[in-house]
Symmetry: C2
Subunit: 338 residues, 2 copies
């Protein structure tokens, strides 16, 4: 199962049985609106706080995934979930509603692939028949906690990213058809000494490059193995830096193979500065848009590299630099997808 | 591997190769002082913030565990860690220092056994040869974040608990000798509608009882299977409630079998109100005191039930009740321990 230093290969073909993706009003106007299962016009989702709204996003994405595979909550044995809010309360409160044995994760925006890696590992090793994993973010809840309430109308520099309001969930199983989760590479914390929380893409790029290189090395893959390597989320600043770093490290991915979930989700003209971010971005883009493209036969082998900036407002105030991490999971078109 | 609804049995005998336990000044005066590897007289650990002090606790506990088994950092393939601080920065910053591929967890005080369960699963399923897991807490960092800075001298009711300043780490391996991790039961979130953050033990007791009952049911064990069932941390209020709930559910553990880590760690007369708590409490008590007792032959089979209150200061302000969880891991004396 362990391959090389930090990669697991899943020989028992755990599949993504079904997914659920839920987005907010800004995502409804975005490039990938058609790929969401459910879009909300109201950022509050009829709740009295943004954190409660985020909880509802998670609940709905998981319920939708469960419905689509015609299962009940009791059929799901474990739930891996996490988010950016202090003490990951939206995920934990959603888990209370769903009543599924629960393992809470924190990996900032890398949580999506941390959860998928662990869910696939568990199913592959027969620790479960069906596991659900979810990652989410909410623009206003995140802005309030990490920066200022959006009502203040604070200005941000063009290097900063727009936190996506979305939740993406996937059910992983060892029976049934669907895209196959073939491997996962767990990243190390990389910190190049950057400390600007308005340039997370730049800070996270070295972690993304480190994990991608480790993945190709551990699995001994040629650079053209994947149709798409999608980071989540480096944005306009981070993506070219990561591309340069890969070249420096001698990994020359084919032109246009390396893209970013945060640059896919919005339309040109939406005021999202350097692109989307947030734990829900890579989850929703992967479980919605990218798997839809796989179902249509446009993609056969993809590698999702979810990147997390593991800072807190307090660590920034205490003049710490930003420790970053990236986890990569490979997904391949399965037999049942044609 | 999956047994019953929510339990894993580890047939390949993952062992606890070595452990590291580090405590603070209050723990140095406690009942279990002799069971710590390292005790600090200074709550600051020569750092300029309590959060940085907590990071050093984690680093030292992991380094001590690695030294004791005569390994180097590079020999450890993965690290599972978490704590109570926003965005678990002490764990993530410690992981930066150690440069081990890292999976961040959040389960409040249940993090210790969430980490041990996942580490043992990984090693048992040959996803790694050696994994380190750590959980920690720091009294002053936690008080500042969840309540008030300790310098304010705020009063607390007698039902509240004292956050332990400690980190406990364990290296899990599929080679070598040591206590064997035999099984783990992952809990569901249970919320009985309590909302008083100064009575966490009472809030967490139903989650502990639910997981203990699930564990005995899934493994089909007689009530006297374990020499010790240790919760972490229900304290003086929660422990008798959990005992009553077990009796109501028909699980009659032998007299004195069910104890609490938070009631073991301090000496009578220390002003800890209803007892110790914090993610570092059950980690340090288990990896220090309880495994020492196992080595001396006083205990053969133990079940550690780490309980977490998954609230945040914000969820409390938003009038949410406290969602609680408990994860149980069983440890048995191994061949190399006699």
């Amino acid at each position: 199962m362990l391959r090389g230093h930090q990669t697991w290969e899943f020989e028992n073909q755990p599949v993504i049985l079904s997914t659920g993706t839920v987005g907010g009003p800004f995502e409804a106007k975005g490039e990938l609106a058609d790929d969401f299962d459910l879009l909300h016009e109201d950022l509050w989702l009829k709740q009295d706080s943004y954190e409660k709204a985020q909880k509802v996003l998670i609940e709905k994405s998981i319920s939708r995934a469960i419905e689509k595979s015609e299962l009940r909550n009791e059929d799901i044995q474990f739930m891996f979930a996490g988010d950016l809010i202090n003490q990951i309360t939206p995920s934990s409160f959603a888990s209370r509603t769903l009543a599924i044995p629960y393992l809470g994760l924190f990996g900032a925006c890398s949580t999506s692939m941390e959860g998928l890696a662990l869910a696939a590992f568990l199913v592959n090793a027969k620790g479960a028949e069906r596991v659900v994993t979810a990652a989410s973010s909410h623009n206003a809840a995140t802005e309030k906690q990490f920066r200022y309430p959006t009502e203040y109308g604070g200005q941000k520099p063009p290097t900063s990213q727009w936190t996506v309001t979305a939740s993406g969930a996937a059910i992983i199983s060892n029976v049934g058809d669907g895209p196959v989760v073939t491997s996962a590479t767990i990243g190390k914390v990389i910190d190049m000494g950057l400390s600007d929380p308005f340039n997370m893409g730049g800070a996270m790029a070295p972690a993304a490059a480190d994990t991608i290189v480790a993945h190709f090395r551990d699995r001994n893959l040629p650079p053209d193995h994947y149709d798409l390597v999608a980071s989540g989320d480096l944005g306009e600043i981070g993506l070219p830096i990561a591309k340069d770093l890969l070249k420096q490290k001698g990994l020359d991915l084919p032109e246009d193979t390396f893209q970013d979930c945060g640059l896919m989700i919005y339309r040109e003209g939406q005021p999202v500065l350097a692109g989307g971010s947030g734990a829900g971005c890579s989850a929703a883009v992967t479980y919605g848009h990218l798997l839809n493209r796989m179902k249509r036969g446009e993609l056969n082998r993809i590698l999702i590299v979810a990147t997390g900036a593991l800072l807190s407002p307090l660590s920034y105030q205490q003049q710490e630099t930003i420790p970053c991490i990236a986890h990569a999971v490979s997904i391949e078109a399965g037999g049942g997808m044609t």
